[in-house]
């Protein structure tokens, strides 16, 4: 009984209330700006580190450090982010919106790593350390009381703010009808800014309060607050009271789970798995019809490359690749091969997200499954059966993951795939039964019947050919009847229903095919570095992958090629810089700004080739149409 009480107290006071704080912040930013902030956890982490810096390094009194961080720095940061990055994304596609906050998440981690060396241990002392009270035989520290008090106070204050004050009412009015709000004389943009300021402030409170309960660790803090997503889903990203309840329930589940469930090998990291299962269940159980968000999206699909042009460009690329295969110096292939393999994995995003309109945050999990299958079935000889197994396994798992996708839309699907990816991390990739005690699997390069491609140079040419074949195939698919249907489903699901389009089958097919491509890419990626470890497929890298894909234009195959190579070169740069993650941070930051300014990517409107041709033939050849008519302005015109 006393264990039960102790677990209950820990569930509420340590976890539940912290989740409540961050989840409420998430709800506030989402309702006011319509953008789901993936970086909520990272922002809380930054807040906690700033607090540590001020109070522990500079010796400020804790109340002063707390006040400065929570009431000044974080609100300013939130308002600034909203104004600089997010305001332009109001009508952008979901993947562009998600990508920018994903970039913020990665950027937060990178910046924090650069400033605060992660190998140094840091602790934040709890508030009023040493003071505690005993209630009914259960000991509560003052710090825990403060956590409970802060979350309850935040809930009450938010409630009063939204229902009793004029700015609060105006904030809700913006959610209701942005245009009418402006017409009454309230400035809508100011309220999104206010929402972000409050959201960042709340997540900083959560970060600071939890930092003394666990270690002050960049990844821990960032991901711990990710659990707030699950709680916010209980309130369907709208209701604050339900969000609060969801957070407490999640905290309790986690506490009881850790306390009572046997430590099994499969679920080695229960603390991580429980919130993800909770998130999955909540997303799957909650009714979807009302959760769907009718948002006006202004997407300009880029021009679809025609058959002849795609063949010409593909051949040209293979030609260049063959030349490069003979001329590049031997050291560059480790990066080049990885880059092309990543580009193949990214093609799966072009299909699923670019054409199919479904955002997946678990493509690297499929790639990992592919590498796993290649290793187990392909053996040391790299039998082609391994490739088949890689494609088959990831396609099969993809189909299973797609089942919820059939009823989930947009953000909810993205979060479900995120939960899947995180679950895979904890239960599969980091499982010694799967990856062995050394957590490493050797993956052979495929053994082709006529010509050997196992040397670095030949493997490079081989990868380029595979990439080109898939890219040409995807473009052909996009031009086909099925491709038009994919775009129609993205454009207007309800119109598709009235036309009798079988959306279930189409979505299932897209998801499965996309997973298969990712699996194939994963198997080849494994071959490129001849072994894979769980570190190759953490879910956070799936986020990076999506970020790069969107930044380089997720609807273009050229963008994926560049994105994959850039991804790979990022790690090359890192290896040569003193601060390990500086280059990465720079990359991510540039990508984020790029997406916020130009959600279609550099190859979206006009392809590189088209730009050259325009520049070269400005005098004689037919005038460039791209200046007059935006390519593929409406989806229907692209289809016709």
């Amino acid at each position: 009984m006393s264990q039960f009480l102790a677990l209950t107290v820990a569930g509420i006071a340590t976890y539940g209330c912290v989740y409540a704080l961050t989840a409420m912040g998430l709800v506030v930013t989402y309702t006011t700006s319509g953008i789901f902030n993936f970086a909520q956890g990272a922002i809380g982490m930054i807040g906690a580190f700033l607090y540590w810096e001020l109070s522990q390094v500079h010796g400020w009194p804790s109340w002063a450090a707390f006040t400065v961080v929570v009431l000044f720095v974080m609100p300013l940061l939130g308002a600034g982010l909203e104004r600089i990055l997010l305001r332009r994304l109001e009508h952008a596609g979901l993947e562009a919106q998600l990508t920018v906050t994903i970039a913020l998440l990665l950027l937060g981690i990178a910046v924090a790593t650069a400033i605060w060396n992660p190998s140094t241990a840091r602790t934040v002392p709890p508030f009023f350390a040493g003071h505690q009270v005993s209630i009914g035989g259960v000991v509560l520290t003052w710090h825990q009381l403060i956590i409970v008090g802060a979350s309850a106070a935040a809930a009450v204050v938010l409630r009063l703010f939204f229902y009793r004050t004029r700015p609060g009412i105006a904030t809700r009015a913006v959610v209701d009808d942005r245009e009418l709000t402006a017409l009454t004389g309230a400035a809508p943009a100011r309220y999104a800014e206010l929402g972000w300021a409050m959201g960042c402030s709340l997540s900083a409170v959560a970060g600071i309060l939890i930092a003394s309960q666990i270690n002050l660790d960049i990844n821990n803090l960032t991901l711990l607050v990710v659990n707030g997503y699950a709680a916010a889903m209980v309130g369907r990203l709208r209701s604050l009271p339900l969000t609060f309840v969801g957070a407490i329930v999640l905290g309790l589940l986690q506490s009881y789970g850790v306390g009572y469930l046997p430590i099994s090998v499969l679920w080695s990291d229960l603390e991580q798995v429980i919130p993800m299962l909770f998130l999955l269940v909540v997303i799957l159980v909650l009714p979807q019809s009302r959760a769907s968000l009718a948002r006006r999206v202004r997407v300009r699909a880029p021009r679809v490359v025609g058959r002849r042009e795609s063949l010409v460009r593909g051949t040209a690329f293979i030609g260049i690749a063959v030349v490069l295969a003979f001329t590049l110096n031997a050291a560059s292939f480790s990066y080049a091969n990885r880059g092309i393999a990543l580009a193949i994995i990214m093609l799966s995003l072009t299909l699923l997200t670019g054409y199919g309109g479904q955002v997946s945050l678990c493509q690297l999990s499929f790639a990992g499954l592919g590498a796993f299958a290649m290793s187990k079935v392909g053996g040391t000889g790299g039998s082609l059966l391994g490739i088949l197994a890689a494609v088959g396994l990831s396609a099969a798992v993809g189909a299973v993951v797609a089942l919820p996708a059939l009823r989930l839309r947009g953000l909810y699907l993205a979060l479900a795939t995120l939960a899947f990816a995180q679950g895979m991390d904890a239960a599969f990739f980091n499982n010694i039964d799967v990856f062995g005690v050394s957590l490493s699997l050797s993956v052979a390069r495929p053994h082709l019947p006529l010509v050997s491609v196992t040397s670095d140079r030949r493997y490079f040419a081989f990868l380029c050919i595979v990439f080109t074949a898939i890219a040409i195939g995807l473009l052909a698919l996009r031009r086909s009847r099925f491709g038009r249907r994919m775009l129609a489903i993205t454009d207007s699901p309800s119109a598709c229903l009235t036309l009798g389009v079988d959306m279930t089958r189409s979505k299932l097919a897209i998801f499965t095919l996309s997973a298969a491509i990712a699996g194939l890419g994963g198997a080849l990626y494994g071959g490129a570095q001849s072994a894979v470890s769980p570190n190759d497929f953490p879910f956070i890298l799936s986020l990076t992958l999506l970020l790069l894909a969107v930044a380089w234009g997720i609807r273009t195959t050229t963008g994926m090629l560049v994105g994959g190579v850039v991804f790979s070169l990022g790690s090359l740069l890192d290896a040569h810089l003193t601060h390990p993650r500086d280059a990465f941070a720079l990359l991510v930051g540039v990508a984020a700004i790029g997406v916020s300014q130009n959600p279609e990517g550099p190859f979206g409107g006009r392809t590189v080739m088209r730009m050259w041709r325009d520049r070269a033939g400005r005098a004689g050849s037919p005038p460039s149409t791209s200046a007059e008519v935006p390519p593929g302005e409406r989806l229907t015109s692209a289809a016709g």
Binding site: R166, I169, R172, L180, T184, G185, A187
Partner: protein
């Protein structure tokens, strides 16, 4: 009201009109939808802008309320050039715009909606509530109810309460009769007339000419982004049907 109808022509010199549009052009992307629109509404006047679907009436209102920036031309409110001013600034300066079919916040209560009206500036919550509840006692009974759950007529009353309580210099009404029973429409237009009697300028956009012409002092018919004809309701009334059906006749009448 009749007093305002007749002397319309000889009061021109007194003060700048509440609204004046000079050579307004506006475009969606590359498609120009307003071609050189000229319009002038004086204080105390009800100006009915009529026309068929897609004529550019609502776009004209979007330009006036600041929701859309014209590609050419100027918007003058009470003599001041306000071209390109943001809608919220215009609203605070006294341009009250009730957009088509949604003049209220459905997920806010009646009382909260009224509180939003106070953004007009210089208004207290109690003033707005007093004026509104005195005029529409039914809304007082429902002050805690979500506006989205009110009947269509009640919602339109709530929307009109903004015009009533914020004392705008210029009131823009877009298709307020949309989807409402004829009896309620008549009631609404009585309200419009009484607001005009207090000296505000009102620009009414309507597809159904008959109702609007009953309260208007002045009217214009718009087709295909141009004003085809302007005049008193008596002049406009008989021509409206033909103008709606085709602009051939309209060009004849304007070039006369």
């Amino acid at each position: 009201m009749t007093a305002a109808t007749e002397p319309g022509a000889d009061r021109v010199v007194e003060a700048p009109p509440a609204l004046r549009l000079i050579g307004i052009r506006a475009a969606y992307e590359r498609v120009e939808v307003l071609h050189d629109v000229e319009l002038s509404v004086r204080a105390g006047q009800v100006f009915a802008l009529l026309g068929p679907n897609g004529a550019g009436k609502s776009t004209t209102l979007r330009v006036v309320s600041g929701r859309m920036r014209p590609t050419a031309g100027r918007v003058l409110v009470a003599g001041n050039d306000v071209t390109g001013t943001s809608p919220e600034k215009l609203a605070r300066q006294g341009v009250c715009s009730v957009p088509e079919g949604r003049g209220v916040f459905p997920n806010l209560t009646v009382a909260e909606n009224l509180r939003m009206w106070t953004y007009r500036g210089g208004l207290r919550r109690s003033d707005v509530e007093e004026v509104t509840y005195a005029r529409f006692p039914r809304l007082a009974d429902r002050r805690r109810q979500l506006a989205g759950t009110l009947s269509g007529g009640e919602q339109q009353m709530l929307a009109m309460s903004r015009a009533l309580s914020t004392k705008p210099t210029l009131l823009l009404l877009d298709e307020i009769s949309m989807g409402l029973a004829p009896l309620i429409v008549a009631e609404l237009y009585e309200l419009v007339a009484s607001i005009a009697a207090e000296g505000f300028a009102i620009l009414v956009v309507e597809q159904f000419a008959h109702t609007a012409l009953q309260v208007a002092d002045r009217a214009a018919v718009m087709t295909q982004g141009r004003i085809d004809m302007e005049g008193t309701p008596a002049e406009i009334g008989p021509a409206v049907g033909d103008l709606y059906l085709g602009s051939i006749r309209a060009e004849g009448s304007t070039t006369e």
